[in-house]
Subunit: 197 residues, 4 copies
DNA sequence: GATGAATGAGCATTCATTCAT
DNA sequence: AATGAATGAATGCTCATTCAT
């Protein structure tokens, strides 16, 4: 295996370990030692690949956000009309988080307690997603699919609602299937913007 | 001033200081020393009134939750029909948080990073509020004011939406007036459950 | 009750409480608060009667040492010949400690971990007792009851042996009756100085 | 120097420093910082090698007990008859402590004030030693070298006597040579069990 | 590239003592 | 005399980060 590939593998292994450790212990309570152990490497090894604990979290967030956005784009681009697109995005989010609970926990719970800088980065990620929702709502308005509304606020509402559904599921002791919430959630959200479910 | 009153005052002064310090520095990053300084007392003084750092946070949460719930009950009990009641509750929340940004920050941002035990306590507080929303929606359904829906999910959506609106406002660099969001938010939420705004 | 008597009573009550608390928790691990609670008074009350924690310990030691010495003198003065006198002293010690285990613990265990100054005071108390033994042994030698020996060392041996017996009894989980050790101990000690048991 | 050896050296250096600090300042009054300074390392360095302050004390106790027992075994195994063996053990103890006063202080003085858990550990070490004495006395009885006596009590007496001699020497302001006590102590102890000196 | 020993700043908590009431 | 609120110095321990090997 070429050197570069080995490094890449190590890098990924650390991120995987960090995801697991941060999700179960919490970012603040998790120590770099724990991540190192989970990654089957040493503390020094971690610091060779990442400049610090926070950088691991950031890298993890970006890797995950890229994955999430990719899934959404993938799901959305097969649809044409705005409402169906938003619908597809919603389903994609529930599907991804539904099958990656640790990821959901990282995004929706741990990131908030990780300090100001990480919170700001999370806000940026969230912003990307909210902007995507808003853009679709705007298009729906332009196309006359829904009546003119405050799409900035509506996208916040959609985002917050989805956030809450997933957060509750993440923190539930005995969580059911996240995707089961889809039909009812979809109906509520569409109604909220005046679109016929 | 009688001793008992002095103690009460000190107790409150510490909570006020803690609110300010926790909101600006974050619960984890705030030290007991900082709280002591803000309360114009000593570290030992803090520990005379509270058994530990976490207990301060819990006391703060409970004092605030009581205040919030009291405001809501107060606002709600003058209304008769469920939709108007939910409406009043919504307005009360926006009004209280709108004029106590630190409190909002404490509730919606800091509490999440404060570790598992405090998170659980927050969940209980949130649960009380969500249950209140749900109860009103249930009544609205029974009275035929709105069509039968999954009120458990709907209350989550309402809660999540409100949470998001307030959180964004809390974290905004130059926040406007929180209450300005009321009319549009109200319209969205009512539409979401099929009630005519 | 006259004021002076009340003070006296309070003073004693604090010493009794301190004996109990120091014996069960250890001098270092016991807090002044615990003593105050056991004495059914307040921390301030303690400091009215004693200048500090250490002073309580010292007062306790002195009160106890006086009691012990009094018992010994009492037991000894009815005997004439040196060996019988030492014998009586031995029995008195076993009897007193045997019925006051907390006192024994205070003297033989806690006092050692109480810091340099208290250790020095304990050494003085021990010294008084060892000197008493030695004096009797010296008289026994002068009277020809026992052969000439190094009575300084012999008194240390007697003291150490007694100390050990009592200490082991103090620390035993299920202690028997301390006085039961008397006959065999007596025989060993007398033989050690060449006196016919 | 290979890593493993360096670690070993550091480990020992910390124990040596702890011995010195604990002996001079007392276990309770000594701070981990002081130990670190004496070991020419940092507080964190200490905690890399030992899980806590108490663990240092325990390690020290065990290292020392092993040394003491080894010296005794070594001294004893060249002797055949029980009395001579006990004699050799006695001499070995006086010799070791006589040349390691800090060690003696640690064992006989500081360990007692170090709290319940450490006291229990010390009791175990003492027990090993007392059992050794008793075993030799038992053999002497069986071989008819001495008359039948309560060897459990006799071993306590021997142990206590030795303990006292060493303790007094440890706490003396201007101590002489500990080994000088040997002949007279030997005579007393042997006489106490009815063996001809 | 990797290891793990070392660093040192930071922090919650305890507690003997003081003192206003 | 007595109370209990207040003080502040002290300390064990954690952990992100550095670096010699």
């Amino acid at each position: 295996m070429p050197t570069q590939a080995r490094t890449q593998v190590r890098h990924e292994r650390i991120l995987d370990a960090a995801l697991s450790v941060f999700a179960s212990r919490g970012y603040r309570d998790a120590s770099v030692d724990e991540v190192a152990e989970a990654a089957e490497t040493s503390k020094g090894g971690i610091y060779f690949h990442f400049p610090g604990k926070q950088a691991i979290f950031v890298a993890l967030l970006e890797r995950s956000a890229d994955l999430l956005l990719a899934r959404i784009v993938e799901a959305v681009e097969v649809e044409r009309e705005p409402v169906a697109r938003a619908d597809a995005a919603l389903r994609a989010v529930l599907k991804l988080f539904g099958s990656h609970r640790a990821l959901a926990r990282l995004f929706l719970v741990e990131a908030l307690g990780a300090g100001p800088e990480l919170r700001a980065r999370m806000a940026a990620v969230n912003g990307r997603f909210a902007a995507f929702i808003r853009q679709n709502l705007d298009e729906a308005v332009q196309q006359g699919a829904i009546a003119p509304i405050d799409t900035a606020l509506a996208s916040q509402v959609w985002f917050g609602a989805l956030n809450q559904i997933v957060s509750d599921w993440v923190l539930a002791e005995q969580p059911g299937r996240l995707e089961d919430s889809y039909p009812a959630l979809r109906a509520l959200l569409l109604r909220s913007v005046g679109a016929a479910p």
